[in-house]
């Protein structure tokens, strides 16, 4: 589904942050992306999310060469990839419901056509009671779940999550992990960037370890 071949990336004239990265993210797969802080996990996620272009190598997303995807095509490709940011990126002037329905709203869909779906999803992630609350009132865990729900509302083929448990306590981290596993069972490929070894030990899944700009994969 997403394939990297000898991908390298540097910012400007700086050193290469990622070197000769090659891997494949198959459909319905589940993997952790790990490594020390500053190893380039977020940068790799940005490459996966088509938010950066590699300085060398080949990236193929849904069968299309990244270098041939035009700027007008990017939004259409991104709709097939859900992303959960480490800092949630919820809009504070919108309620949980409005934040989660934002991806559908920007497609120009009528509210009546997605109201039920959004409500069901919010209940599924346990935010049914917090639907009409503004993000500043939500707890860290609730914000995280709202961000996950927003990434899922369009039923993406791949879900990328950047340190999704970085701001929550271990019990909630476990619950969020289960959410991802359940989602994976429903058919979405999941990539979780984390340096939480405890979290990774809870699931028997592929580990992609990024260190010194190189990627090692442990199936």
């Amino acid at each position: 589904m997403i394939r990297f071949e000898n991908v390298g990336l540097r910012y400007g004239m700086g050193p290469e942050i990622l070197r000769d990265i090659s891997f494949h993210i198959p459909e319905r797969s589940f993997q952790f992306l790990s490594g020390p802080s500053g190893a380039g996990k977020t940068t790799l996620l940005r490459l996966l999310f088509l938010s950066l272009k590699p300085t060398r190598g080949l990236i193929s997303v849904f069968g299309k060469d990244r270098s041939r995807i035009s700027r007008t095509e990017l939004p259409l490709m991104r709709r097939r990839i859900g992303i959960v940011f480490q800092d949630f990126r919820l809009l504070d002037h919108m309620t949980t419901y409005e934040n989660v329905s934002l991806p559908l709203r920007v497609r120009g869909r009528e509210e009546s056509s997605y109201r039920t779906d959004v409500t069901e999803l919010l209940k599924w992630v346990g935010l049914g009671e917090r639907m009409h609350v503004l993000p500043p009132v939500l707890s860290g865990g609730e914000k995280q779940r709202a961000a996950i729900a927003r990434a899922l509302i369009e039923q993406p083929e791949v879900l990328l999550a950047d340190e999704p448990t970085g701001n929550v306590d271990p019990p909630l981290a476990r619950r969020l992990l289960r959410l991802f596993i359940e989602l994976n069972r429903l058919g979405t490929a999941v990539v979780i960037a984390t340096h939480d070894l405890g979290l990774m030990d809870q699931v028997d899944a592929r580990r992609m370890i990024l260190a010194g700009g190189k990627l090692d994969i442990y199936d």
């Binding site: 198959p26 007008t72 990017l74 939004p75 809009l91 346990g126 009409h132 699931v203 592929r206």
Partner: protein, 338 residues
């Protein structure tokens, strides 16, 4: 590679219970639904500051425009009033029948195309003209006072003054024709200079307004960077994002511009009212002599409307280009954009 779904070691059966809410029928009644929030929040400090800056700059621009319109109209009136008339002056001489000479000059002038009317300034009127200097009870015949014929001309197709001069001089040798050319030329030069300076001031004012509006809009947009990013990352097309911001800032711009424009129109109306209320007082006479009747006319009000519309459009266009540039930056220049 792990193509099969992940195998959780924990008890997954608990999942349903972990996050699921109570069934729908047991939920409390829905809270009061508010109207769907706009994608771009309607008010923040930068937004309010932008409205204020736009209102002030529009007000000043409209006042400048009004002043320039007033000066231009007044200059035009001066020019037309002077050039609407010419004067034939006949000096007394020995053996000259002044009344006959006046009649002759008036008749000759009246025969020229482009002359609407001629009028001999009679004795009484001439005496009145000289009264400030020579006092009342003056007998015109006792003094060698020149007499005048006022020639009213069609300003659109003025007569040939040189030919008129040549026609009058043989019949009335002491007659001189003053077509006010010197005065008209000086007034026209002064009026044009005034209008040019006014236009220059207006251009500078508009340039300052444009720059203020552009930078204030960019300042207000800077606070919305996170919204652009989120919209971009949830798959919104650039056109959609730009449209949302354009619409929001068009409204903001129009709100500020309309406030400034209305304030300027109120000032014009108040001046006009003051001017008409104080008619025939020394202050108003002085102001009227300088600026006409303080009415800026339809063109002035139209100009105010145009300024308001242009500033609104400018605000919208600035937000549009800022969004487009920002989107370009997200995908190229921001290493820590995520």
């Amino acid at each position: 590679m792990t193509e099969a779904p992940a195998d959780a070691r924990a008890h997954d059966e608990d999942f349903e219970d972990e996050f699921e809410d109570t069934p729908l029928q047991q939920q409390p009644p829905p809270r009061t639904q508010r109207k769907t929030a706009p994608i771009v929040p309607s008010q923040n400090v930068a937004g309010r500051a932008l409205v204020l800056v736009i209102a002030i700059m529009t007000f000043l621009s409209c006042l400048t425009l009004g002043a320039v319109t007033l000066v231009r109209d007044t200059a035009s009136v001066w020019e037309n009033q002077i050039s609407r008339e010419a004067t034939i002056q006949i000096k007394p001489a020995d053996g000259l029948d002044m009344e006959a000479a006046l009649e002759t000059a008036a008749r000759i002038a009246g025969e020229f195309a482009g002359v609407r009317a001629t009028k001999v300034v009679d004795r009484q009127a001439t005496a009145r003209l000289l009264e400030p200097w020579l006092g009342s009870g003056l007998n015109i015949d006792e003094l060698p006072v020149p007499r005048l014929v006022i020639v009213t001309i069609d300003e659109n197709s003025p007569p040939d003054f040189a030919a008129m001069r040549q026609a009058i001089t043989p019949k009335v040798p002491t007659a001189t024709l003053d077509d006010h050319r010197t005065w008209v030329d000086r007034l026209v030069a002064m009026a044009r200079t005034t209008v040019t300076i006014g236009t220059g001031v207006l251009v500078l004012m508009l340039a300052a307004t444009v720059l203020s509006v552009v930078f204030a809009t960019r300042g207000a947009m800077a606070g919305n960077g996170h919204i652009i990013e989120v919209l971009h990352f949830v798959g919104a097309e650039a056109g959609f994002i730009a449209r949302e911001f354009r619409r929001h800032f068009l409204l903001t711009g129009m709100k500020g511009a309309a406030a400034g424009g209305v304030a300027a129109v109120i000032v014009f109306i108040v001046f006009s009212w003051w001017s008409s209320r104080n008619l025939a007082t020394p202050e108003a006479d002085q102001a009227t002599a300088l600026f006409g009747n303080f009415a800026i006319g339809a063109n002035g009000y139209l100009g105010v409307a145009v300024i308001v519309a242009v500033i609104g459009a400018l605000t919208a266009a600035t937000s549009h280009f800022t969004v487009v540039n920002y989107l370009g930056d997200i995908d190229t220049h921001q290493p820590d954009g995520m």
